[in-house]
């Protein structure tokens, strides 16, 4: 605990002392230090988790890599700061991380009072419930009287309170700070129900001792648009982080993949030529403060949005989450990007 108070204090102190050091231009700072400091989850399989040798991978991690590739042309120039739900906001506020890609729900409070900026949603999620099959529960409305495991400091915790209050159900919250602690408590039977974003439930179920004995209830009780967050007051940096996401979506739209990106440069389609920075006298990257090759570098590093999705959480991963809302707008989903023009 002392560590956490210390983190907060140091954060506060950094905010105080760094008055003159931390300029508004995050891009210049990042270029000067040579890497992007990226706030990620402490370990959520499919989204951000380190392997045995300490290499991070996952959906959110690929966004960090994509941002690094856009700036440096090198996806390895990232350093990861694992943050708990509680630590993530002070870390971003104090400048400890440059961008927070950590299954963070975009809410008005976080966008305003907390001093952050959100624009892109890289995963449209919603809160769900997981229970043991043995309980014979078919709907969340049958959960009155249950003990519910939840991670503290999340929108999940608030939605949970609202949902049970609205439906006049009783429950007993069992609250932990770390995801691993919630997992362990649920696995040990400390609570009957586990609630978090549904994508998270699919991921967490795999880590339980007997995944087959657990089921995810059909109800989705909230909107959880997850996306990368940056500090307010630096529009250039905000634009870069947003357009990295848009580039990934546009790439999928154009059918540009990690494998065919070099080939696509020769495409006669002027939209694609402009997007990949091969149009004559283009300022497509320099206006952002990057090179004109930035979109190519991003796609070379991590592929397009669909590839990131499939590799980490979709059909090509153990999680096997459907694209659903996260399919492109042209394919029945709501993932949509403004044109590169």
């Amino acid at each position: 605990m002392a560590k956490r108070i210390l983190t907060a204090l140091v954060g506060a102190a950094v905010m105080g002392i760094g008055a003159h050091a931390a300029s508004a231009a995050t891009l210049d700072d990042v270029k000067a230090k040579g890497f992007v400091q990226c706030g990620v989850n402490t370990g959520l399989a499919g989204f951000a988790a380190p392997d045995a040798s300490g290499n991070w991978s996952g959906f959110d991690v690929d966004y960090c890599k994509a941002i690094a590739a856009a700036i440096f042309g090198d996806a390895t120039k990232v350093k990861y700061t694992p943050t708990s739900a509680k630590e993530r906001f002070p870390a971003l506020q104090s400048g400890e991380v440059d961008v927070l890609a950590r299954n963070t729900t975009w809410t008005i409070n976080r966008d305003t009072a907390l001093g952050f900026n959100f624009r892109t949603v890289n995963y449209y999620d919603g809160q769900g419930f997981m229970v043991r099959k043995g309980l014979n529960v078919k709907s969340a409305l049958e959960l009155s009287g249950a003990a519910v495991c939840v991670q503290t400091g999340t929108t999940t915790e608030l939605n949970l309170a609202d949902y049970f209050k609205t439906n006049n159900l009783q429950y007993n919250p069992v609250v932990f700070e770390k995801l691993e602690e919630v997992n362990a408590a649920y696995d040990a039977g400390r609570c009957d129900v586990y609630t978090t974003d549904q994508s998270g439930l699919y991921s967490l179920r795999l880590t339980l001792s007997k995944p087959d004995e657990h089921m995810i209830l059909p109800e989705i009780i909230s909107k959880e648009p997850l996306g990368p967050a940056v500090r307010q007051g630096d529009d250039q940096w905000f634009d870069i982080v947003s357009w990295v996401h848009y580039a990934l979506i546009n790439a999928e739209d154009f059918g540009i993949t990690q494998a065919n990106v070099e080939e696509m440069k020769k495409s006669p389609n002027p939209d694609i030529q402009r997007f990949l920075g091969v149009e004559a006298d283009t300022k497509i990257g320099t206006d952002l403060g990057l090179t004109n090759e930035w979109a190519v570098n991003v796609i070379k590093a991590v592929g397009n949005y669909g590839e990131i999705f499939d590799r980490n959480i979709g059909a090509g991963s153990p999680l096997k989450i459907e694209r659903g809302l996260n399919a492109l707008w042209s394919k029945g989903g709501i993932q949509y990007a403004p044109p590169v023009r």
């Binding site: 605990m1 002392a2 956490r4 108070i5 907060a8 204090l9 954060g11 506060a12 102190a13 905010m15 105080g16 002392i17 760094g18 008055a19 739900a85 509680k86 906001f89 002070p90 506020q93 409070n109 976080r110 305003t112 009072a113 907390l114 001093g115 309980l135 959960l143 009155s144 009287g145 249950a146 003990a147 503290t152 400091g153 999340t154 915790e157 608030l158 949970l160 309170a161 609202d162 049970f164 209050k165 429950y171 007993n172 919250p173 069992v174 609250v175 932990f176 700070e177 602690e181 408590a185 040990a188 039977g189 400390r190 009957d192 500090r231 307010q232 007051g233």
Partner: protein, 397 residues
Amino acid sequence: MAIGVTNAPERSKSSGSIINDPQARGIFYQAVTVILLAVLIYWIADNTIENLKRANIASGYGFLNSRAGFDVGQSLISFTSDSTYGRALVVGFVNTLLVAVTGIITATVIGFIVGIGRLSHNWIIAKLSLAYVEVFRNIPPLLVIFFWYSGVLAILPQAREALALPFNMYVSNRGLAFPRPIPGEGSLYTLLALLIAVAATFFVARYARQKQMATGQRFPVLWTALGLIIGLPLLTFLATGAPLTFDVPVAGKFNLTGGSVVGPEFMSLFLALSFYTAAFIAEIVRAGIRGVSKGQSEAAHALGIRPRLTTRLVIVPQAMRIIIPPLTSQYLNLTKNSSLAVAVGYADLVAVGGTILNQTGQSIEVVSIWIIVYLSLSLATSLFMNWYNARMALVER
């Protein structure tokens, strides 16, 4: 401190320069220190405010009156998601107090038993006490908490197979459920009788002391007190028609419903803090008893005082003077270590504050509240223990 200058011997007045005047120098250095400190604090505060403004982060303590929106699992006072953040902090504070006070009492009891056990002439008792001290003193408290928490979760049965205990109590990995007494009409008299009994005991004790001082005759205070404190409320209770019902826990769909529950979070934290701190208290007690010179007990024996009375009237009062100051530190440590609650999800001040910090983003405000509360709690404990120490101190005539 240079304030000691006032007691300094007569200063030499020969060197007229103010630079060589020790008092002037003292004042100068103190003034410089105070000014530097003030400038530093001003600079930090100013920069912090400036940065908060630049980052568009709302600040101030106004958020304490907003709706919390989250629920707290363990609460001694009523709390719903409609209560305010301020009340949530109070819930956390009460939970911290609860675990600190119960922990301090239990740690003291275990500590004294083990500490005296270490001095026992019985080989097994002495070695067991030694083993206890060495094991618990040398493990970080967080691990002790995890040990109890996973122990409680792993060993106890699942909620639906709760183990039934006598008096309608049940134990499972959701905690210990027991019937909750619901006082009926007229139970106020029982409470009143208890208060009267306590007050009466106090006067009886005073009377007994005066009588012994005056005549040397002893009065059986203990038995009278027990009779008063147990007997009087019991009689009143029966006379008013036993106005007490119980809310008994019954098996529900998921958990036992009804009754009161002591959760595994509280139990593991309470046990861990008690056992951990008791190891240190045991050593303090042993040191205190060892610190009383052997001549004291020999003199008491020479006067014909029996061994048990020697311990009670000669050894322990003197040992207490050695024990109390370090004991205070242990009490403060236990209170502060209770913030490790966050590791097992016990809703103490730090855990609840952390949730609020996250929901509102008011990190500086919440951290300042933590600091102020723990500081006040520690200072209050210190003040009480200092008062107690002064009472126990040797009165020199």
